[in-house]
């Protein structure tokens, strides 16, 4: 079987020799098993296909910054024209950017910045996401009440920034109390168990749950529904994944924060092409987060 595989490999034609004028883009995605990133990456790939004369190669860093650095190194040896990087980490992915710059290859950052600025950045600020979500909570509770916060994997950029945004809001509303906070590692089942335990420990002491992503918000939602106390608790997540949107539509989930995966994906390809053709390209293209509730849901359901 192995021989067959190797045979199959050698049978493949030498990956097309570069055609003159073809633009070769290397794209390192943060983690394709995460729904939001998968959506963004798909947008990048699909959009690049619509552009003639463009070849895009996508690799998946599986949330490992050191792997991502390796992938950028690989791109450099492959002599790509431009790199699109969806960084795993604010800090740890920085050497990848430095390496590309040192090699004189333009690099576009998407969805997450790094310490060293890229040649262009398309995305939004995760601090805003946390801020928007907690603001919605504060508005709903009138600045008074108990809140539970479910973290993503501790120490990841998204977790840190979303928490920072939320903390700004807590600082603003002294009546808003953080009753408890705990990680559920972006995982729905873990968030569900966590919320079940919280319902035992803090019953009646909280009026809202803010989860760092929609997966965990869905878990919290299911636990609250099962306990029959959803009506007393405001639940909000981030990302606006499909299931969250339909839950908002059904009036189960109160709100989520929309991040424009497709917009970011397309924007990054556009920027990459401009850079590759040595045309002027805006340094930053911020696509803001937006709160999604039942009222404006129709704009997001496509």
């Amino acid at each position: 079987s192995l021989l067959a595989l190797v045979g199959g490999l050698s049978g493949c034609k030498k990956s097309d020799p570069r055609k003159a004028g073809e633009i070769f883009i290397g794209f390192s995605s943060r983690d394709l098993s995460a729904e939001y990133t998968a959506k963004l990456s798909e947008a990048v790939v699909e959009y690049a296909k619509t552009k003639p004369g463009v070849r895009l190669v996508m690799v998946d860093a599986q949330s490992d910054a050191q792997k991502q650095i390796s992938q950028v190194e690989n791109f450099i040896s492959q002599k790509v024209d431009v790199i699109i990087l969806n960084p795993c980490e604010l800090e740890a992915s920085t050497p990848a950017v430095d390496r590309a710059k040192a090699a004189g290859i333009p690099i576009v950052l998407v969805n997450q910045v790094t310490k060293s600025a890229g040649d262009a950045y398309i995305g939004s600020n995760d601090v805003d996401a946390g801020h928007i979500a907690m603001e919605a909570v504060a508005r709903k509770l009138g600045g008074q009440g108990g809140v539970l916060m479910i973290h993503g994997i501790m120490g990841t950029s998204a977790q840190l920034q979303r928490e920072a945004g939320a903390r700004e809001v807590f600082a603003k509303y002294p009546g808003l109390k953080l009753v408890d906070h705990q990680t559920a590692s972006w995982d729905r089942a873990k968030a569900m168990a966590l919320t079940e335990n919280w319902i035992q420990a803090h019953k009646g002491k909280f009026q809202a749950v803010f989860a760092h992503n929609d997966e965990m918000a869905m878990g919290a939602l299911l636990a609250l529904e099962r306990a029959g106390i959803k009506k007393d608790v405001y639940v909000i997540g981030i990302d606006a994944i499909a299931q969250a949107l339909s839950a908002v539509k059904e009036g189960r989930l109160d709100a989520t924060v929309f991040q424009d995966a497709v917009g970011q994906g397309k924007g990054s390809v556009d920027a990459a092409l401009l850079l590759a053709r040595k045309q002027p390209c805006p340094k930053e293209n911020l696509i803001p987060f937006r709160l999604v509730t039942r009222d404006n849901l129709s704009e997001f359901l496509k």
């Binding site: 998968a38 705990q182 089942a189 079940e196 035992q200 878990g219 299911l222």
Partner: protein
């Protein structure tokens, strides 16, 4: 052997009771019925997996693919569970069959291929995860029929996942104690060559153990999908570690041949209790990790010390 196992059980049991005592003093809720039902619901998935992997560990094997197989089976189940699609039996069957297929493949590679279980199941861990992502396109498979998601609900006041876990436990216990095949599993784990020389068909027994473990991972996948109302391709990461930990805490040797289902259940209870208790005490996430690790090692150490004296 009986006495020794009683002591084993005793040691962990004491730790469980002590922690329980501490928790019911420190929190008002730990001993409440609703919290205990919670714990029961939360341990069910790990419990089902732990029972399955007990069989494999007893043969001196290992199964690292559990978590991925849970995800793949959950996706398989959810894909056939859209409302009005089919009866509730089909998605369940698909989940179990998927698990069985993975387990059977593991077993075949271990027995006929003579590849080390660690490598085989590590490979399956990657492959099943990849297949789950491919089958679902990387997105959670949602829109499951209420008939299926109700499986995470209650029946006669008891959580259905708990009933599944209890049923599986009972059958496994009966099996290991009272069936010939059960005895063969111990014999193979104790000394594979001697078992072969005693006329036991080692390959078939192992194949059975891996397949059963796969089926139970499939069941866990179905329960998880029902509980989270989706088939998540990235669910179940590192579940195998929790399951194996529960089994080993319960006194099963990784070298095979020694261990009981009762022990496994105690291991599952201890882990579930720690997870629940730390949340109830609102211990910070960072410290939760440290405390959990220390308690588990400490419990096993205490247990082994006691059983030696």
């Amino acid at each position: 052997m009986l006495d020794r196992n009683l002591l084993h059980r005793f040691g962990i049991l004491i730790v469980i009771l002590l922690i329980g005592l501490g928790l019911s003093v420190c929190t008002e809720t730990f001993l409440s019925l609703s919290n205990l039902t919670n714990v029961a619901r939360q341990i069910s998935i790990n419990g089902i997996l732990a029972v399955g992997v007990t069989f494999v560990l007893l043969t001196a094997g290992v199964d690292l693919s559990l978590g991925s197989v849970v995800a793949l089976s959950g996706v398989a189940c959810a894909s056939f569970a859209h409302p009005g699609d089919h009866t509730v039996a089909l998605p369940i069957a698909m989940g179990l069959l998927t698990g069985a297929a993975c387990g059977l493949t593991n077993g075949m590679l271990v027995t006929r291929g003579a590849v080390a279980p660690f490598i085989v199941t590590l490979g399956m861990m990657t492959v099943a995860r990849g297949l789950a992502l491919i089958a679902s396109g990387g997105r959670p498979v949602s829109n499951m029929s209420p008939e299926l998601t109700n499986l995470a609900g209650d029946f006669l006041g008891l959580p259905i996942p708990l009933l599944c876990f209890a049923g599986v436990t009972l059958l496994a216990w009966l099996f290991l104690r009272h069936f010939r095949l059960g005895r063969y599993i111990y014999a193979i784990g104790g000394n594979e060559n001697a078992a072969r020389a005693a006329g036991i068909s080692v390959a078939n027994v192992k194949l059975f153990a891996y397949t059963l473990c796969g089926v139970l991972a499939g069941l866990a996948g179905v329960v998880l999908a029902a509980r989270t109302t989706t088939g998540q391709p990235n669910a179940g990461v590192a579940y195998e570690l929790d399951a194996i930990a529960a089994v080993v805490i319960g006194g099963t040797s990784l070298a095979g041949g020694v261990g009981t289902i009762t022990g496994t259940i105690l291991g599952v209870l201890l882990i579930g209790e720690i997870n629940n208790g730390l949340d109830l005490l609102s211990v910070s996430s960072y410290y939760q990790a440290v405390i959990k690790g220390v308690i588990i090692v400490g419990a096993v150490w205490l247990d082994r010390r006691q059983s030696r004296s």
